[in-house]
Amino acid sequence: MMDSAVVLNFVNSAIDWVKLVLDAPSARAVVFGFHIGGHLFVEVFLLVVILFLLSQKSYKPPKRPLTNKEIDELCDEWVPEPLIPSLNEDLLHEPPVLESAAGPHTIINGKEVINFASANYLGLIGHQKLLDSCSSSLEKYGVGSCGPRGFYGTIDVHLDCEARIAKFLGTRDSILYSYGLSTMFSAIPAFSKKGDIIVADEGVHWGIQNGLYLSRSTVVYFKHNDMDSLRNTLENITSKYKRVKNLRRYIVVEAIYQNSGQIAPLDEIIKLKEKYRFRVLLDESNSFGVLGISGRGLTEHFGVPADKLDIITAAMGHALATEGGFCTGSARVIDHQRLSSSGYVFSASLPPYLASAAITAIDILEENPNLLTKLKNNIAALWRGLSGITGFTIASNPESPIVYLRLEKSTGSAKDDLRLLENIAERVLKEDSVFVVTSKRSTLDKCRLPLGIRLFVSAGHSVSDLNKASESLKKVAALVLGGHN
């Protein structure tokens, strides 16, 4: 008790003493009627300390950049992966080599075979008129154009061809690309940039996929050819993005899907497009010269005027039996591409003889509407012939010139599926001289639709060709797939 009292006493007297000392210098100091106490000195002192500390640099571990020797060591230690992964057994398949033109009948290994591997829908390969226009063009212009379109690579036939395509389709203008594959992957990034929105079908081919990637836009996929899925996607996007009105919005579809043979329901798409105010980019590679009463493609098939669609592209390496591609639309859309589309600006132009071939091919198509009837009949005949085939379903649209046979029962892995399909294709070729091909996928391809056997029907096929093909496929399918099911 005594001890604590002493301590308390001592502390109290010490505090008093400190107070006295602190207050002493300013005991009588009054500023503006305000007493200045000793605590003010303490506070000012603290402020000074804080300011001093703030002015000091914070502690950083000393920087020690790598010395040259260390970098040398790192460089020595680094072992790169080989440029390509090691090749395995799967890569041994070699495609058959053709010994003549890839017409409806061609020669492989010295044997005449029926060709279902070329998208020669109108049977124009080997057409005398086409060859004549090509050879006169070759004599006049040489083979290559030796320059991009901007730098004297524009030859009058290019302009004629662009005008011819626009006239045929009833659009304002069109633009030629020198390769089918580059058409879409140049056209998409020209119109869609970072921040813009693209709604695309999940089954689009690689050229479009690459274009979507290069555009850096926000890409949303909808279920393959499923209009409910498209509607939901559009609805979601419209409600999700508040500033959607200021963004460019596109729907990207193929007219006839290369990966499935399905036909896009354009009437539905147009309704949805107009409701949600999206622009439509349509790839008509496999439908131009095929669908519609005069071969003008999907727009004619559905009776939609071509100017309802904003951008139409197509490869000319199918029905027109030449090479290259085109894009068609309003004058503004086309002019914009002439300076903004990288595959157009930075690439040599289409060899002039291929442009004359395209003009002639369109002429032939216009003069011979029976080619289209013939093609339609052939497609129907092949469908009839293939009905009841073992182990396969026909996945394509009955009007599509790509007849797509999908395995009824997948083995579970794409690799095994492909091996099975390839086995069938090989046997059909070897035993019955019918050349059919499987759909192959690059490792880069994001399309996940099931693989299958693709038959490209041509107006040049005769009824007996089609019968032979369906008989042969049925026979081999029953032998190979009979056990599976």
């Binding site: 460089c75 440029l83 930075f346 391809d445």
Partner: protein, 489 residues
């Protein structure tokens, strides 16, 4: 590296500033009028946006007639340029039936295979009749003919690599191959002036891209060391693989790649080399085998050799040459091989035949003559231009020689004045070059005769005086005022 004089830089900036100001001024009134006539967009965002569209409408369209001039003959040494006229201030151009015969200094017709050739053309027509213009099928389906295999062998043999794969378009060759080889976790080190197809291919691959200063091996080494030491961004994992991409001849600079140095550095740092010989294959080297032959680089040291057939061979398409395994792998995975229609058979035949001529396998020495001719022509033309005081960039032996113009007003002036005197030249501006570095580009061909070149030099000299692009004093003393120059990449 191009040195642009201060005064020129200033006037160039001023010109663009003026064009921009007037363009904006006109756009302002255009908007005002459009507002009255009500917009027809109906809830869509405008399809063409921003500065790019502004550039096209207000700058490019005004000088549109200097680009895309249609021709109506083969792009040989002399060709027929179709005259055009415009009724709406150059917004649209209409063709007339009038033509003018002009000397062609624009086409990439290095060896003169653009026009009909006594050896090639009959073979091409024969192939056309046999194989038709197209196979309508991809290479893995029904698009491989005997001719395609022959072409691949022929190309591999020509560029001295074990194997090759060909595509129907040069642009696609670059932009579809890079995504196959490179991917996430790999690094692409690209020359800063590489062609757009390489840029797009690199972007499409998803790999990290670093750029080194144009044709500067020391900077390449710096970038390589830094990147290998640091590894991938954020995770710092080591890079899976590194590829260095260079071009043989830079098409807008006319410069030869410093290949020996770059290959040595790549070897030291275990990076793969990718050489794009679009402009050099067939055009340079003793037997036309490109920069490797010219600069004495063993082709075994270049991992991936790419080139196009559009230029020296007068055809279309592109190739990749490399090891047997590489080509085999590409034939299995490359989308351009799997999905695109195969190269047109007549075009393939043109390549085979022209290579035969170059190598003298046609039984004549025309190929050797052509190669000697283009070298002589190029070096003569370049030295004469330099003597006149033009700012010509690029290296000797290269058939591409850009003449610097800089000011935007000089682009149409130079082009139109030359055309008036029947010399067709190419002028290049943004987006193919940086905005300030507009230039005219001369491409020399083996089919030009000495008289052609002398005529061209006379015209260019006269127009050069008129337009004021002789930035250096004429010979004998050529002084580069280095102190007074701003450096641009």
């Amino acid at each position: 590296m191009i040195a642009i004089p201060y005064l020129t830089a200033l006037t160039t900036y001023f010109s663009y500033g003026l064009l921009f100001a007037f363009g904006q001024f006109r756009d302002f009134f255009r908007k005002l009028f459009d507002w009255f006539t009500s917009s027809n967009l109906h809830g869509y965002a405008p399809i063409c946006l921003g500065l790019e569209d502004f550039y096209i409408r207000r700058l490019y369209l005004r000088i549109q007639d200097c680009f895309g001039r249609p021709i109506c003959s083969a792009p040989d040494a002399w060709f027929d340029v179709v005259e055009r006229y415009s009724n709406d201030n150059n917004k649209t151009l209409k063709r007339t039936t009038k033509i003018s015969r002009c000397l062609n200094l624009g086409s990439y017709n290095y060896l003169g295979f653009a026009a009909a050739d006594e050896y090639c053309t009959p073979r091409v027509v024969e192939t056309l009749n046999k194989y038709s213009p197209s196979t309508c099928s991809s290479r893995v389906d029904g698009g491989t003919t005997l001719l395609h295999n022959e072409l691949e062998e022929c190309v591999a043999n020509f560029v001295r690599k074990p194997a090759a794969i060909v595509f129907g378009m040069g642009y696609v060759t670059n932009s579809a191959i890079l995504p196959v080889l490179m991917g996430k976790g790999s690094l692409i080190i690209s020359d800063s002036l590489n062609h757009n197809s390489i840029v797009n291919g690199a972007r499409g691959s998803g790999a990290t891209i670093r750029v080194f200063q144009h044709n500067t091996p020391s900077h390449l080494e710096e970038v390589l060391r830094e990147q290998i030491a640091e590894g991938q961004p954020r995770t710092h994992r080591p890079w899976k693989k590194i590829v260095v991409i260079v071009e043989g001849i830079y098409s807008m600079e006319g410069e030869l790649c410093k290949l020996p140095e770059i290959v040595a550095i790549c070897k030291q740092y275990k990076a793969y080399t990718y050489l794009d010989e679009a402009h050099s294959i067939g055009a340079v080297g003793k037997t036309g085998r490109g920069v490797c032959e010219l600069l004495g680089v063993d082709t075994a040291d270049v991992d991936i050799m790419m080139g196009t057939f559009t230029k020296s061979f007068g055809s279309c398409g592109g190739y990749i040459a490399g090891s047997k395994e590489l080509i085999k792998y590409l034939k299995y995975t490359c989308p351009a091989h799997l999905y695109a229609t195969s190269i047109s058979p007549p075009a393939a035949q043109q390549i085979i035949s022209s290579i035969k001529v170059i190598l003298g396998e046609d039984g004549s020495n025309r190929g050797a003559q052509k190669l000697a001719q283009i070298r002589e022509n190029s070096n003569f033309f370049r030295s004469e231009l330099q003597k006149m005081g033009f700012e010509v960039i690029g290296d000797n032996d290269s058939p591409v020689m850009p003449i610097m113009l800089y000011n935007p007003a000089k682009i149409p002036a130079f082009s139109r004045e030359c055309l008036k005197q029947n010399v067709a030249v190419v002028t290049v501006a943004f987006p193919a070059t940086p905005l300030l570095l507009a230039r005219a580009r001369i491409c020399i061909s083996a089919s030009h005769s000495r008289e052609d070149l002398i005529k061209a030099l006379q015209v260019i000299s006269k127009v050069g005086d008129l337009v004021g692009i002789k930035y250096f004093p004429a010979e004998p003393q050529k002084q580069q005022q280095e102190g007074k120059a701003v450096k641009f990449d």
